[in-house]
Amino acid sequence: MAGRVIVITSGKGGVGKTTTSANIGTALAKNGHSVVLVDTDIGLRNLDLLLGLENRIVYTLVDVVEERCKLKQALVKDKKNPNLCLLAAAQTRDKSSVSAEQLKKITEKLKKDYDYILIDCPAGIEQGFQTAIAGASEAIVVTTPEMSAVRDADRIIGLLEAADGIESYKLLLNRVRPNMIKSKDMMSVEDVENILSCQKIGVIPEDTGIITSTNRGEPIVNNEKSLAGKAYMNVARRINGEDVPFLDIDEPKDFVGKLKKFFSGLKKQGKE
């Protein structure tokens, strides 16, 4: 059994690469797959924080590369989900500590034992990015519906197409605000898809719960009520090859809107 190596990248910083990695990883593990999350953002690691594993890290990716420990020793098991493991980045080093070949070797080893290897890519298109994509065969490009993020995503897609190993890439649109799209203040999902001419794999609505979950060290997919959590669960299922319809993220804020939505839902149910 050979696992799939997926890199999660964006180009621009702050669009939600790490949040996406943590949530998709947790969601896949929840669905019964064995998953390793690899943080390649050496020197600015955050993935451990989002998973609440900060206090468990003894060995890091750099320790594995420099052969101070075995690969198994460096894998930190998640608190709740035994299917999920984290290979953390070193905080006290920089991106030059790990080369593309070294990361490729590690992913080759991990492939044998795990279903999914998700690589959290650092921002930028420099050495860190080149290292992160080296071992991957698939990519998820995270972007937000802002012009700057879309431009950077475009640049990244260009680089991914030029890269040898990447066979397919998908788009994940993060922090979407349906209300703003309605009032034409934000690019719609279709607009972004058109601009980038790239197939989307998920649309995640803006959710204040993300901030709370980050601070608590618990991915939002563990919260079943959260819309963003549901969206991430769907992304995980789509990655696994299931055909899942896109979530209706249109959530009206005013009371009348909510009532309308409620009744339309009843109507639909009645028709069926």
Partner: protein, 370 residues
Amino acid sequence: MEQFLNDNMYVIDLGELNTAPEIIFELSSVLDKEEVKNKRICLKLGNVDLNQAQLLSIKSLINGIDSTLSCVDTKSVETEKVALSLGIIVSNVSAENAVELAPTMPYKMAEELKDEAINTETEENEDIVEESDINSESLNDAIIEDNESLPSEQTEESREVEENIEPQQEESQIEKEVVAEPTETINSDIDNGVVQETEKEEIQDELDVIFGSTPSQTVFYDMQHPTEMYEEREELTDIIVPEQEYTKEDIELESFPTKYIKQTIRSGQVINYEGNIVIIGDCHPGCEVTAFGDITVWGILSGIAHAGAGGNQKAKVRALKMNAIQLRIANCYSRRPDSLNTVYIEKTNSFTPEEARIVNGEIVVFKMND
């Protein structure tokens, strides 16, 4: 008081002195000299009755400068007995053919110079001061050098001045000398300043405690090793804290040099030092502090701290607020409990200092009350 150089033996005549503190004071000023080092030393004592503790402290003073106390000449039967019990030869030393040496330097000068030396040292390294232990040899060496470079006239003058304020001054000097003495057996708790302020009687009492009635070395040992300040454990009370023994590891910790760092240690910063580390500032999450000795943080410790990295099990980690992600002492490792997931800790004026050390093979954090 006279000193003679007799063959390979160095004879120190203290026959005129009548109390143990006087003897120790005079002796310590003689022992500052270069000539006395690496010699076999013979003490001429008068009618003084010395007990075991007093003679032991004299012996350790002499051992401290790499010399040995080979024989004692005394008129007191009591002292003779004690000396024999400690394996010191009792004999009559002839003062004939002995070479007389120059008058001794008063310790006062050396004390002042020592202060100056320390001051200049700290000025040189403002931010990061690598200060060796106060007891270390380098300081004593500096004092000796300064002694030699002084003109002799000045010496005599200051000596005269000193004789006027003799007794109290003298005793305080004994204290100071004892403190500066490099061997391990001497109590270092007594502060110089305190001694100067106290009355003569009090000093006498204190000296009696140190050199007085109880006849064993454990007196010094007890005073040097402070009693337990932290007995309560925060969460679990069922662990019995074993009595602390003074071991080789303690001595090693005390002999380590100390590095002072006056800055905030931020994420990604690494500090390694083969000694003790004192950080005046906070240690943010994501930093790593590794020391062969103790780690003391005058602030909030939230990063990773590894004390006793060389394998010293007695090493400790102290902080005003202990919030470390991981604590490592020697080969033990512990992580912050998951329940204690504080986003950040408010900086207040009322922190309870905490100390982590190994108890029964696991790291335990104690509150240090009072």
